[in-house]
């Protein structure tokens, strides 16, 4: 446990600089986008009034009110950059041990105690980065709303909630605890899968790694295919919708634990410098 905590602390220290730069840049970009979009709208209203000798009310009626959803329309794309960064972090957190002037993998694999701590420390770090990214983005949305509220007169606003329905943000900023749990589980599963691919690539030589990846993909996909074939074919209509969902959730959980188990086995017994 002590080794795991120390390694996690080390991983966070090593990742924090780049993380703060990336997340800071995303937040600044989002806040700036709200300011710029709101000011552009205001300038359009002013231009309309000047060109058409119209009153403010006429301009707003003619030009339309401005919603927070419109002010934050590029947040989805910025959030995609955040998601891409998490994917890069999940890969970089392993590859940096082999690549570069320092070969820290020697030291990691030689540390006393179980090697599984290395895996869990890296997983924890990427998960913490994911959770804090979501948390910081949520705060940014709230701050952006404050900024939007302050910059735009009440009569120019289109009354909407914080998040536009159908937006990517809706997935990330759900206030429903079950949705948050599912999002975290999905993040964990994706990170786990990325780790597994990296570990296979690092453990086996080129062609063997490809064969191993294909074999593991088959092991993961086959049960789903089989269950899908049975439930859609011979047993079609036999199960209730909730039972289908439960069945697939169980299969997903088994897949998740299988990947975790295999990754830990690779780190403990096969991973080399």
């Amino acid at each position: 446990m002590k080794k795991y905590l120390m390694l996690t602390n080390e991983e966070i220290k090593r990742s924090s600089k780049l993380y703060l730069i990336v997340v800071g840049a995303l937040i600044v970009l989002e806040l700036l986008s709200v300011v710029v979009k709101t000011m552009l709208y205001e300038r359009s209203i002013e231009t309309f009034m000047r060109m058409n000798q119209a009153s403010e009310l006429e301009a707003v009626n003619s030009y339309g009110t401005f919603s927070f959803a419109a002010a934050t329309s590029i947040f989805d794309y910025i959030m995609m950059i955040g998601v891409a960064y998490i994917v890069v972090l999940a890969l970089q957190i392993w590859y940096r041990e082999w690549i570069g002037e320092s070969k820290h993998i020697y030291r990691l694999l030689l540390l006393p105690g179980s090697r599984a701590s290395i895996y869990f420390a890296k997983l924890t770090t990427v998960l913490l980065a994911t959770v804090s990214l979501i948390g910081l983005q949520w705060l940014t949305v709230v701050a952006s709303y404050g900024l939007f509220d302050w910059l735009l007169p009440e009569s120019h606003k289109f009354p909407t909630g914080l998040i536009k329905s159908g937006s990517l943000l809706q997935v990330f900023y759900s206030m429903n605890i079950e949705d948050v749990f599912i999002l975290l589980m999905m993040s964990c599963a994706v990170i786990n899968l990325l780790f597994f691919i990296v570990l296979i690539e690092r453990t086996f030589r080129k062609s063997r790694a490809m064969i191993q990846l294909i074999a593991e993909a088959m092991i993961l996909i086959l049960p789903f295919g089989l269950v899908m074939y049975i439930t859609e074919g011979p047993l079609s209509g036999l199960l209730l919708r909730v039972e289908y969902v439960t069945l697939y959730l169980v299969l997903l959980s088994i897949g998740f634990f299988y990947i975790g188990f295999r990754s830990i086995r690779l780190v403990q017994n096969k991973l080399s410098v």
């Binding site: 002037e101 320092s102 070969k103 030291r107 030689l110 006393p112 017994n269 080399s272």
Partner: protein
């Protein structure tokens, strides 16, 4: 005693790098593993400490399979790039219960290293000294050194070679791979010659001098120029 039994290793479909290598390292001896490039010297060391899984063979350390009594000094820098020497010493102290702070401090002073220096910014020679320090400051009876003299100047080699005649060697069984044995030849107790994944010759150096009438360096030339 550190016993290596029948180590075998093949990378991919290539010919085996190690083809049943067996030898032992006694306490209080300096053994030199000699071989041309690509003969598997480093693979043996990495196999012994578990950095590369072997296809076959076993490692017995004082009657057990635990490798906690072995320290390894690789030929590369192994600390995260942001670390200073001071950070590295703290790191070792945090993780290893057998880390000897006194030895570390003494070697820091001997090698004239500064704790505030970043390891990645050190010269190759000073990086080699840091590596040796990190290995020797672990209170472990067996120490494996991978090419400790590779790519460093003569003066630094002599500074590093000093450690092999110092009290830090006492009671330790040391296995070292190197091509450059001139500086340490007089300190070597045993040599193992490796070729085509097998041990082709193994001698106590005194015995070798008596039998072959040659220095280790000359015997090395003779073996690999065949």
């Amino acid at each position: 005693m550190l016993e290596v039994h029948g180590l075998k290793k093949r990378f991919g479909r290539k010919r085996p790098v190690l083809n049943g290598v067996s030898f032992s390292i006694k306490p209080d001896t300096l053994t030199c593993l000699i071989g041309l490039n690509g003969e598997g010297k480093s693979t043996i060391l990495k196999g012994i400490v578990g950095l590369i899984p072997m296809d076959a063979g076993s490692i017995i350390v004082d009657g057990t399979t635990s490798r906690e009594k072995i320290a390894f000094v690789p030929d590369v820098q192994t600390m995260p790039s942001y670390m200073t020497i001071g950070d590295a010493l703290t790191y070792m102290n945090d993780y290893y219960s057998d880390w000897n702070e006194q030895t570390a401090d003494e070697l820091m002073a001997t090698f004239k290293l500064l704790s505030t220096d970043k390891i990645n910014e050190l010269s190759k020679g000073n990086q080699a000294k840091v590596n040796l320090l990190l290995g020797f400051a672990l209170d472990r009876p067996y120490l494996l050194l991978d090419e400790p003299f590779a790519g460093i100047d003569l003066f630094t080699k002599e500074q590093i070679a000093w450690i092999f005649s110092s009290h830090y060697m006492e009671g330790r069984g040391i296995l070292m791979t190197t091509h450059e044995i001139v500086e340490v030849e007089h300190l070597i107790d045993r040599v193992i010659f490796l070729q085509d994944g097998q041990i082709i010759d193994e001698h106590d150096t005194e015995e070798m001098r008596e039998i072959h009438g040659k220095s280790v360096q000359d015997r090395m030339r003779e073996v690999y120029q065949r």
